[in-house]
Symmetry: C2
DNA sequence: GCAACTGGTTGTACAATGCAATCAGTTGGG
DNA sequence: CCCAACTGATTGCATTGTACAACCAGTTGC
C-alpha cells in the first residue's frame, strides 16, 4: 500500500479506496446484511470471499477510517466491526450501483428486489436507512420522525423473504 | 474473462463490470473530459494509464455494451469511441463517488470543483448532463427545456479553469 | 519518400488476488 | 480437566492483473 496517489481527482481517490472487487461487497454485507463479525462476513456472503482477502480488506478499511474494530465482551477473541460515518455514507454509491446493475445486468429476482425498493424509495429512503445505521453502529439515537413502524432494514428483508417464498411455492 | 458470475446480486454484478481501478476512470474521461480517441485517453489522463491496459479495457467495455467503437471518417485507422445509454447512466455512480471522495479524501482544489458543482446541482443537473451526452454520443437531440445557455460540460470546464487561473495568480 | 500520427501488440518484471490448508487462543459441555 | 467447536486470522503456492518500455503496421500530410 503506497501513500502516494495517482491523482487528486475525487473519483480516482475513491476508486483507490474501494475500487476493488471485495471492499464494497464487505460494506454491502455490513449495511444490508447486518454482519458485524469476521465469521459472518466469511461464511454468509453470497460470493464466498476467502479468509485472507477478508482479513486484508478489513484491516485496510479500518486504516482508511471506513469501519472500526472493537472487542466483543462475549468472547475475548471476538471482534465487532462497525461502520463509521464515512462508511455509512457509502450507501448512496451502493444504491446507485444497485440501480444500474438491476437495469443492465442479469440480476436474480430475489437479490434484485432490495435494489428495486431502494430505487423506488430514492434518497429519502436512503437517508432514513443511514439514520438507522448511525443508531446501530455509532449509537446515535434515530430522529423520531420516521414515518413507518418497520425499519428500512426490516422492510428490505421482508421483501426479500416474500420473493423467496413466492418462488418456492411455484 | 469468465461468463460465470459470483452471484446475482446487482451490486456484485456491477462490481464485476466496473470494479477495477481503470474502467471507471476511462468512463470519467469520456464523460467529463470529452475524450473519444485512443490517443486522447492514453495521453491526456491524469493518472497515466498504459497502452495495453487501455486497449484491454476498451475492448472489455465494448464487449459489455458500455461503449461502442466506430471508424473515424477523417482517418482510416482512427477509431471513435462512444458511450452507450448504459454507459451514460454510469454518471450517477461517478457523481456519488465524486461527492464521497471530495468529502473524505485529499482532493485537490482544481479537480474537486467539478465534484462540488455536481453535488450542488444534484440529480436535476445530472439529468441535464446525461441529455447532453445522449446528444453527443448517440445523436439524440436534446430536449429544449434546458434552463441556461451554457452546456453543463462547458460550465464544469469553466469552473475548473477559473480555479486554475485563481491559483496561478497567487 | 519520409516523418509524424493512428490504434494498438509484445515482452518482461512485479504486485495483487484466489484458494486450500493450517494456526493458536477461547469457550462451553461433559 | 479434557476436548471439540469456534474465534480471527496466517501461510504457501498458483493464477491473474498491472506497469513500463519497446515495437509494429497502416495512414496521412508535406
Amino acid at each position: 500500500m503506497s501513500n502516494e496517489h495517482r491523482s487528486g481527482c475525487p473519483i480516482n481517490l475513491t476508486l483507490e479506496v474501494v475500487g476493488d472487487k471485495w471492499s464494497l461487497l464487505i460494506i454491502r454485507d455490513m449495511i444490508f446484511g447486518g454482519r458485524r463479525h469476521f465469521r459472518e462476513l466469511l461464511l454468509k456472503s453470497e460470493e464466498g470471499i476467502s479468509s485472507n482477502i477478508l482479513a486484508d480488506r478489513l484491516r485496510t478499511l479500518v486504516e482508511q477510517g471506513i469501519i472500526t474494530k472493537a472487542d466483543d465482551p462475549s468472547h475475548k477473541q471476538k471482534a465487532v466491526y462497525s461502520l463509521t460515518e464515512q462508511g455509512i455514507e457509502l450507501l448512496p454509491i451502493l444504491a446507485q450501483m444497485a440501480v444500474w446493475g438491476r437495469k443492465y445486468l442479469p440480476v436474480t429476482q430475489e437479490l434484485g428486489i432490495r435494489a428495486q425498493l431502494l430505487e423506488d424509495g430514492g434518497p429519502a429512503l436512503w437517508d432514513e436507512f443511514m439514520s438507522e445505521l448511525r443508531e446501530a453502529h455509532l449509537g446515535i439515537p434515530k430522529d423520531r420522525r420516521s414515518k413507518s413502524g418497520a425499519s428500512v432494514a426490516a422492510r428490505l428483508q421482508a421483501a426479500y423473504e416474500a420473493v423467496v417464498a413466492k418462488r418456492k411455492k411455484r
